[in-house]
Amino acid sequence: MTQTITYYAIIDEFSSRDRPGGVLRRVVDGSGQVDEAFSPDLTWEFSPLLYAAERGDTMFEFVPITEDEAAQIVARIRETAEPTE
């Protein structure tokens, strides 16, 4: 079953395209689709944020990014949450 994942940088007034505040992925496969954001618990969990934006909510901007860019954001969030000793 083919699975397509599209990644998005989450940007708000306290972040930027160069340093996004978060990352969201839209996973589409034969059964349907689901959006997941990388959460403060350092796990991917369901998020309604992009659906809200598609409905006209203006709280966050969502910019499509590559998987590598998404991985960099995830790594930065992990570093912030788990500072190296």
Binding site: Q33, V34, L49
Partner: protein
Amino acid sequence: MPVDRPDPADDPDEPGHRRRPDDPQIPDAAPPLPLDQANRVTVHHANRAEVEQVYAAHQQSARGDAPIVTADADPPSDSRDEALASLRAAWEQHQDRYPERERAIPQTHTDGSWSSGEARRLTPEQNSEAAKACSDIHDEGERIVLPAMRQIEAADPNRGLVGLERRLKGEDRLKEKISDALRGRPGLTPTQALNIVPDPVRFTFTYSPDRYADGVLADVERLKEIGLEEVKLKNLWSDEQYKGINSQWRRPETGLRVEVQFHTPASLEAKELTHRAYERIRNTDTSPTERNELEAFQRRVNAQLDTPPGIAEIPDFPEK
């Protein structure tokens, strides 16, 4: 104080509030109007009657009493009525296939924390801060913003505010939104999240299609003239899931955010017709399969809409 309820949740798109007899009179806005006072009142009343007809039809159809009809300067047609009837039937079929699930009930716990379902939670400190902010927002929205918006409304009798009963986001909906933001955006503080919720106070203007583009541009200028700072404007008429223009404004004195949506009667009708679908889409318990079908339904509803002329002349802000 009119405040929205969690069900239906988030949109200022429920059948339109009409001005109450004891509401204060609205001062005319500064720009000269093309009609004399008597004609303005007549046209304004006619416009309101048309919009009220739309919302009365919405209320009836929502109860299953009658089919949806359209009004205003976008006259009903047999084909459009048939299309809407078909869409309503499609939604009913969807509800048959996927029965309504029990909705999460927001609650404050004995330790002062707050939750709505399994996923949405606020700590006692976050909950307290959100509750205080909500009270302040509602006060400022009623005392400052509402009179200003009514002044803007009075400047043009050819369109009006609708859904005023939902101008203030309910406290639980505000908390849900903050919780969603904190879960999806690591590092955001509760105070920051509170400060960037775009629609704690929100208004919707509707225009006939032929007056839509000019009307929106004029009202954007009026919003600036009353001292609001434009934060964002999104022209979503080329989107598939939702059509209209949504804008976010800020009061520089306090930072209060105000959302203003711009619709035609038909696009507002589409938004209302898809409201429950949207509620399900953003529910964590909705299956991926159903979510696909819900998005297809929203696409289908919005594909029925005619784009008002002149839409291309309304750019996003900030421009992309």
